[in-house]
C-alpha cells in the first residue's frame, strides 16, 4: 500500500507524529519542569523554603511520624472492587516504612505500605505518602499540593489519568512513537546534514517551521532518543508485566531462593517484636561506607515487615555523586541491629539498567547537566510545535479552497497544547499564591484552576480559529501569548507580595530554588511578549497586503511553496 520504504516512513511520521504529538508536547514540557520539581515545590509551599537537610534521626523523628501514618482516602478508594468484603477503617499490618531524600530536598518523603486484609491479590499493598519537615518531624499540611513533584512530575509520565493506569499506557505508546518518529524522520530526510545547516527564517512560515523542526530534531536527536527510550525502560514493568503475570510463579520461586541466600526474610514470622535503635544501624552503615573510601549521606532507609520478629532494616547510600539513585545497601535485623547482609557489587546488567534509569531521573548533583536537560526538553517542544505548524501551513491553502476544517482543527489543538498549556501552568501558579493557605483542599482547587484554564484556552483557540479555515493565521496565538506573559508576571508579583521573597531578596541571599522559578517566569514573560509583538506585526502586514491585492498573501506564495515542496520530496 505504500509505494516505497520512504513513503511508509513519511506516513508514519506525519500521522502518528500529529496524533501523539499533542501528548508528547505535554510529556516534554512537564518533563522539562520536573527537572526542577523540588525547586517548584519550594516556590509553591513557602513553609518548605529552607535549606536541604540530611536524612533525620529515625528513632526520634521518623518513627513517631510513621506510627501515625494511614493511607489517604483517595488511595483507599482505589481499592474498591479489589477486596472481598468491606474495606477496613484502619490498616494495621505494615509491610514497609521508607524514607527517601536527595541533596535537593529540604523535606524528606516518607511512605508506609500497608497489607490489605481480604485482598483478592495477596500481595496487594496500599500506601500512605507524606512530606515531612526533618527538623521537627511535622508533616506538611495535607491539603497543600507540592506542585512540582506531585503535579507536574506525574503529569509528565501519567497525564493524571489513573483509571487502569491509562495515562501510563498513553505516554508509553507516545514514547514508542517518539522513537519511531525519530527513526522515520531520519529516513525521510536523506540530506540530513545539509538540512541541519539550513534555516530559511525569512522565507515563509512553512519553510521556517520545517527548517526549525529539522534543526531541533537533529541537534537534540540523541537526547530525545535517550529520554524516550529510558522512559520506556523505567516503566517496562508496567508495559510488560511479565514477571507479575505469566512468570509470577517463577518470580515467587526466585524470591524464596533469594530469601534463603541473602538471609533477608521473605515472609513475616507472625510474632510481634519491638525494634532496636535504627539510628545505630544507620551509623554503622555510614562507618562501613567510609571504611570503603566512599563516605556519603543516607538516601533511603527502609524497614520491611514492620513490627514483626522477621523485620529488617535496609540502609542505602544517596547517589549524590553517582548516576544510580541509591546504592551500597546494608541490611540489619530490626529487632537486634545485627548485620544480615551487604549488597554485593552490581552486576553488569544491573549497572546498565541503573545507568539508563538514573541518567533519566537525575537525582545526582550536576547543575549544568540539569539545565541541559531543560534545554533538551524545550528543544523537543520546539520540534513538536514546529511539526504542527508545518502540518497546518502545508495544508491550509488547500483546505481553504476545498472548504475543509482539518487545518483549522489541528491549528486550534496546537494553540491549546503550546500557549494553552502555558496559560494553565501560569494560572495554577497564580492560584497557588492567591488562594489562602488555610483553605482545606487548597491543592484540589489548584488542580481545578489548572484544568479549567486549559479548557478555556482550548475553547478560545477553537472559537478564534476561523481565520485558519480561510488560510489565515489564528489570532489566538497572539492573544494567548499576551495572557502567558500577564500570568507569568502576576505569579512573580504575587509571590513577592504573599511571601516577601522577592527577587532582590532571594538573589542576594542566594536562595536559588525560589529565585530560579521567578527568573524563569520572567524569561517566559519576555519571550511571550516578543512573540506576541512579532505576530501582531505579521498580522498587520498580511491585512495590508490582502487589501492591496485580490489574493491573500499566502495564496501566491502557496503556489511557489508547492514547487519547493515537490523538490523537497
Amino acid at each position: 500500500m505504500f509505494q516505497n520504504f520512504r513513503l511508509s516512513m513519511a506516513w508514519l511520521h506525519t500521522w502518528f507524529g500529529l496524533v501523539l504529538g499533542f501528548v508528547l508536547m505535554v510529556v516534554f514540557f512537564y518533563g522539562s519542569l520536573s527537572v526542577f520539581d523540588r525547586e517548584i515545590d519550594r516556590w509553591a509551599i513557602p513553609s518548605s523554603r529552607f535549606a536541604p537537610q540530611p536524612m533525620p534521626s529515625f528513632d526520634t523523628i521518623l518513627a513517631p511520624a510513621f506510627q501515625k501514618m494511614q493511607p489517604a482516602k483517595e488511595a483507599v478508594a482505589l481499592l474498591e472492587g479489589r477486596v472481598n468484603g468491606p474495606l477496613p477503617e484502619r490498616f494495621e499490618v505494615v509491610n514497609s516504612w521508607g524514607a527517601y531524600t536527595t541533596h535537593r530536598d529540604p523535606v524528606v518523603s516518607v511512605f508506609a505500605g500497608f497489607k490489605v486484609p481480604n485482598a483478592k491479590d495477596p500481595d496487594e499493598t496500599v500506601f500512605a505518602v507524606h512530606a515531612l519537615d526533618p527538623r521537627s518531624g511535622a508533616v506538611l499540611p495535607q491539603g497543600q499540593l507540592r506542585i512540582g513533584s506531585e503535579f507536574f512530575y506525574p503529569l509528565h509520565y501519567s497525564l493524571h489519568l489513573t483509571w487502569k493506569d491509562l495515562g501510563y499506557w498513553i505516554v508509553g505508546f507516545s514514547a514508542l512513537m517518539m522513537l519511531a518518529a525519530l527513526v522515520s524522520g531520519v529516513v525521510m530526510h536523506r540530506k540530513i546534514f545539509r538540512e541541519f545547516f539550513t534555516f530559511r527564517r525569512h522565507k515563509t512560515v512553512q519553510r521556517g517551521a520545517l527548517d526549525l523542526h529539522n534543526l531541533t530534531g537533529v541537534v537534540a536527536l540523541p537526547f530525545h532518543f535517550f529520554f524516550a527510550f529510558t522512559g520506556l525502560v523505567i516503566f517496562a514493568g508496567i508495559y510488560f508485566p511479565v514477571a507479575h503475570t505469566q512468570l509470577h510463579d517463577l518470580h515467587e520461586l526466585h524470591e524464596r531462593v533469594e530469601a534463603r541466600e541473602t538471609g533477608l526474610p521473605h515472609e513475616r514470622a507472625g510474632v510481634a517484636a519491638p525494634m532496636a535503635s535504627v539510628d545505630k544501624m544507620v551509623a554503622q552503615a555510614q562507618r562501613r561506607w567510609e571504611a570503603k573510601g566512599m563516605a556519603g549521606d543516607v538516601g533511603f532507609v527502609n524497614v520491611t515487615h514492620v513490627g514483626d520478629a522477621n523485620a529488617y532494616v535496609s540502609v542505602y547510600r544517596a547517589g549524590t555523586d553517582r548516576v544510580a539513585l541509591t546504592g551500597e545497601g546494608i541490611h540489619f535485623k530490626a529487632t537486634t541491629g545485627e548485620l544480615l547482609r551487604k549488597d554485593p557489587p552490581r552486576t553488569a546488567v544491573d549497572s546498565v539498567n541503573e545507568f539508563l534509569t538514573g541518567l533519566h531521573l537525575q537525582h545526582f548533583r550536576h547543575w549544568m547537566l540539569r539545565w541541559l536537560y531543560v534545554l533538551g526538553g524545550l528543544l523537543g517542544c520546539v520540534c513538536i510545535a514546529t511539526g504542527f505548524l508545518f502540518f497546518v501551513e502545508k495544508r491550509k491553502q488547500q483546505h481553504a479552497k476545498a472548504g475543509g476544517q482539518g487545518a483549522r482543527i489541528v491549528d486550534a489543538l496546537a494553540v491549546t497544547t503550546v500557549t494553552g498549556m502555558l496559560i494553565a501552568t501560569m494560572a495554577m501558579l497564580v492560584a497557588n499564591r492567591l488562594l489562602p493557605e488555610s483553605l482545606a483542599d487548597k491543592g484540589e482547587w489548584e488542580r481545578t484552576v489548572f484544568w479549567s484554564a486549559w479548557g478555556v484556552a482550548m475553547v478560545h483557540a477553537f472559537v478564534r480559529g476561523g481565520a485558519v479555515a480561510r488560510a489565515g493565521m489564528n489570532p489566538a496565538w497572539r492573544e494567548q501569548c499576551w495572557l502567558v506573559a500577564a500570568g507569568a508576571m502576576t505569579a512573580v508579583v504575587s509571590n513577592a507580595l504573599t511571601t516577601g521573597d522577592h527577587l532582590a531578596r532571594t538573589i542576594s541571599t542566594g536562595y536559588w530554588p525560589v529565585a530560579g522559578v521567578d527568573l524563569s517566569l520572567l524569561a517566559t514573560a519576555v519571550v511571550s511578549v516578543l512573540v506576541a509583538r512579532k505576530l501582531a506585526r505579521r498580522a498587520e502586514q498580511s491585512t495590508a497586503s490582502a487589501t492591496s491585492t485580490p489574493l491573500p498573501k499566502g495564496g501566491a506564495l502557496g503556489a511557489s511553496m508547492k514547487n519547493a515542496e515537490a523538490s523537497h520530496g
Partner: protein, 118 residues
C-alpha cells in the same frame, strides 16, 4: 515529504486487495497495518521478553538482571518490529510472523517456567 494519505494512490489491485478502501475514512489495509504494528508488535515483544527472561534465568542469570535485560532489549525490539510492519510489503505476512512468533515464544517461556518449577 509527501502527504501519502491524500495523494498516494492505493496500490494496484494486484497487491492482494491490500488497497481496498472502506467507503469512507481510513482504508482497511491501513487499519490492519496499524493493528499489526501495535497489537502484533506487542504480542511479539511480550513473547520475546517472557522467553528471554525465563531463558536467561534458566541459564543462571540473576532473576532481576534477566528481567531488566529482556525489557531493555524488548523495548528496542518493539521499535524495530513496529517500523518493519509499516515498511513491509504485505500486512498479512507481518500479522502471521508477529502473532505466530509471539505465541511460540510465550509458549516456550511457559515450558521453561514449568521445567524450572519442577
Amino acid at each position: 515529504m509527501t502527504d501519502t494519505a491524500t495523494t498516494a494512490p492505493p496500490v494496484s489491485a494486484g497487491a492482494a486487495g491490500a488497497g481496498r478502501r472502506s467507503a469512507r475514512g481510513l482504508p482497511w489495509a491501513l487499519l490492519s497495518r496499524i493493528g499489526a504494528a501495535v497489537l502484533g508488535g506487542y504480542a511479539f515483544c511480550w513473547g520475546f521478553i517472557a522467553l528471554a527472561h525465563s531463558g536467561l534465568y534458566a541459564l543462571g542469570m540473576p532473576f532481576h538482571d534477566g528481567e531488566h535485560l529482556s525489557a531493555i532489549l524488548g523495548v528496542l525490539l518493539y521499535l524495530v518490529v513496529f517500523l518493519w510492519t509499516f515498511a513491509a510489503r504485505r500486512t498479512g505476512v507481518t500479522w502471521a510472523v508477529l502473532l505466530a512468533g509471539g505465541g511460540v515464544m510465550t509458549g516456550a517461556a511457559a515450558l521453561i517456567q514449568r521445567a524450572l518449577l519442577g
